[in-house]
Amino acid sequence: MIQNKKYEAIVIGTSIGGLHAISTLLEEIPANYPLPIIIVQHRSKTPRDLLEEILQIKTKVKVKQADEKEEIENGVVYIAPPDYHLLIENNKTFSLTVDELDSFSRPSINVLFESAASVYKEKLIGIILTGANNDGSQGVQAIYKNNGLVIVQDPDEAKCCIMPIAAINTKAVNHILTLPKIQKFLLKITD
C-alpha cells in the first residue's frame, strides 16, 4: 500500500475522541520526523492552549499551536488554535481567519484540508479520525482530487464513527485503517 512518492505534509482532522487518537498516533513519532503534521481538532474556545500542553507530554516531536505567518517546518506538530480557521499559503506559511463556521466548526477540517490540498497537491496525506460530524468530507475530496493520499480511521475502531463514515461515503478515500496501522504507516513512509 505504500506509494512510492515523496510526501511533504500530513494534515489530520478529528473531533470527539480525537485527543486519544492523536496521542496514539504521535506516540512513536520521533523528534526528527521529516514532515510537518498539521492538525485540526475541534475544541472549545478556552482554555487556549491546554491541548498543546497535553499532547506535548505524549510525544517526543515538538508540538505547538500554529501562529499566523509562521513558516511550516518539518518535525513539528502544529495544532489549529481555538476559534480560528487554519489555512496554508502558497509559500508554506500559516494564515488564520475568523470567517464563519464551516460544518458548525471553527477551526474547521474542510478549511485546512482544502487550502493544504491546493498548496501541497499530490504530496499531501490527509487523515480523518474519530469525530461526531461530517466536517472534513469536503476536505478529503479536495485532497483526493489533487492526487494526495487520503486515510480514514476504521469506523469500527473509532470512538465516534460519524466523521470517518462521512469521509468514506465520499469515496475519495485511499485507505481505511486502524490506529496502529496508521501509526505504522506514518513511520514507514519516511523510511
Partner: protein, 280 residues
C-alpha cells in the same frame, strides 16, 4: 459548497485584484491570499460563475456585482465580549488610565457588525466614562457598518453574549442594556449616543484623529506582512503618547518596524501601550 470542481491559479487572482485596485480603488492585493481565494471561490460558487476570467469580466461590467464581491471579501464575524479575558484586562489595566483624560477618543478599526462597539460602550458606561467618550467605529464593509449602526442582533446569540459579559467581569444585569422584540434585541440608545460610524479602509485610508485607545481585533490576520506593518504604523501615528492598542489573541507586532515603540501591558491578551518617542 463545491470547491472541488473549481480552482484557479494565484497569478490569475493577483491580476484580478490589481485590476480591481486600478478600476475601483479597493486594494486587496496585500491581503493574505489563502482566505481571499477561499472567499472568491465562495462568491463564484454562490453566483454559479465557473471561471475566474468570467468573474473578472462581469465585475468590471457590473458595478453592483462588484459591490457584492467586496461585501463577500471583507465581511467578518464577531460576537459581544469575544475573548472575555481581553475585556477583563481592559477593565483592569486600561479603563483607570483612560479615566485620567478629560475627553476620551477610541477607534474601533474593523468594527464589523458592531458587537465589539457595544461591548466597549458597556465597559465605558460601567466605569462612568461613556459620557465623555467618543467611539469612532470604522469598517471597510458598508453592509456590516449598517448593521453595527442599527445595533439589532439575533436573540439566540444573547445567551453566549451574556456568558461572555459575565466572564469579562461584568456584574450588572446585562438585560438592562437592551430591549427584546420578537426574535431580536436592540441595544439601548444611551450606549449609542457617542458613537461615530464611518467607512474606513485600512489598506488605503489615512489617519483621521488622535486616540487614547485603538482596538483592532482579528483584522491584521487577513493582511500580509507589509500591510500589517503599514497598518501598525497608521495606529502608531493615530495614538497619543501612552495611548493603548488592543489586538486579537493571535495577532502581534512581530512584523511591524514600530514594535519597539510599544510596550506590552498584557502579553496574553495583546494589549500594548505606545511609548513616548525619544526624539526622532
Amino acid at each position: 459548497m463545491d470547491f472541488i470542481k473549481m480552482n484557479f491559479d494565484t497569478k490569475e487572482l493577483k491580476e484580478m485584484l490589481e485590476s480591481i485596485r486600478y478600476v475601483y480603488g479597493y486594494d486587496f492585493t496585500d491581503y493574505a491570499e489563502a482566505s481571499v481565494k477561499r472567499r472568491v471561490l465562495h462568491f463564484m460558487n454562490s453566483k454559479k460563475i465557473e471561471a475566474l476570467t468570467d468573474l473578472g469580466k462581469m465585475i468590471f461590467a457590473d458595478e453592483k456585482l462588484f459591490e457584492e464581491l467586496v461585501q463577500t471579501m471583507s465581511v467578518t464575524v464577531t460576537e459581544m465580549f469575544r475573548d472575555p479575558i481581553f475585556y477583563k484586562s481592559l477593565r483592569e489595566n486600561v479603563m483607570k488610565r483612560l479615566a485620567t483624560y478629560p475627553f476620551i477618543k477610541i477607534w474601533i478599526a474593523g468594527c464589523a457588525t458592531g458587537e465589539e462597539i457595544y461591548s466597549i460602550a458597556i465597559l465605558l458606561k460601567e466605569e462612568g466614562l461613556l459620557n465623555r467618550s467618543v467611539i469612532y467605529a470604522t469598517d471597510i464593509n458598508q453592509k456590516s457598518l449598517q448593521i453595527a449602526k442599527e445595533g439589532v442582533y439575533a436573540v439566540e446569540n444573547m445567551k453566549s453574549h451574556i456568558a461572555n459579559y459575565q466572564k469579562s467581569g461584568g456584574i450588572e444585569s446585562f438585560s438592562e442594556y437592551y430591549k427584546s422584540k420578537y426574535n431580536s434585541v436592540m441595544f439601548d440608545k444611551s450606549l449609542k449616543q457617542n458613537i461615530v460610524f464611518s467607512p474606513h479602509n485600512l489598506a488605503v485610508d489615512k489617519s483621521f484623529n488622535e486616540f487614547q485607545l485603538i482596538i483592532c481585533r482579528n483584522v491584521l490576520i487577513y493582511f500580509n506582512q507589509q500591510l500589517q506593518n503599514k497598518v501598525i504604523n497608521l495606529f502608531h501615528e493615530s495614538l497619543c503618547p501612552f495611548g493603548f492598542l488592543g489586538l486579537g489573541s493571535k495577532e502581534s507586532l512581530l512584523f511591524s518596524d514600530k514594535r519597539k515603540e510599544f510596550e506590552e501591558i498584557d502579553k496574553r491578551e495583546k494589549i500594548f501601550i505606545k511609548k513616548i518617542s525619544d526624539s526622532k
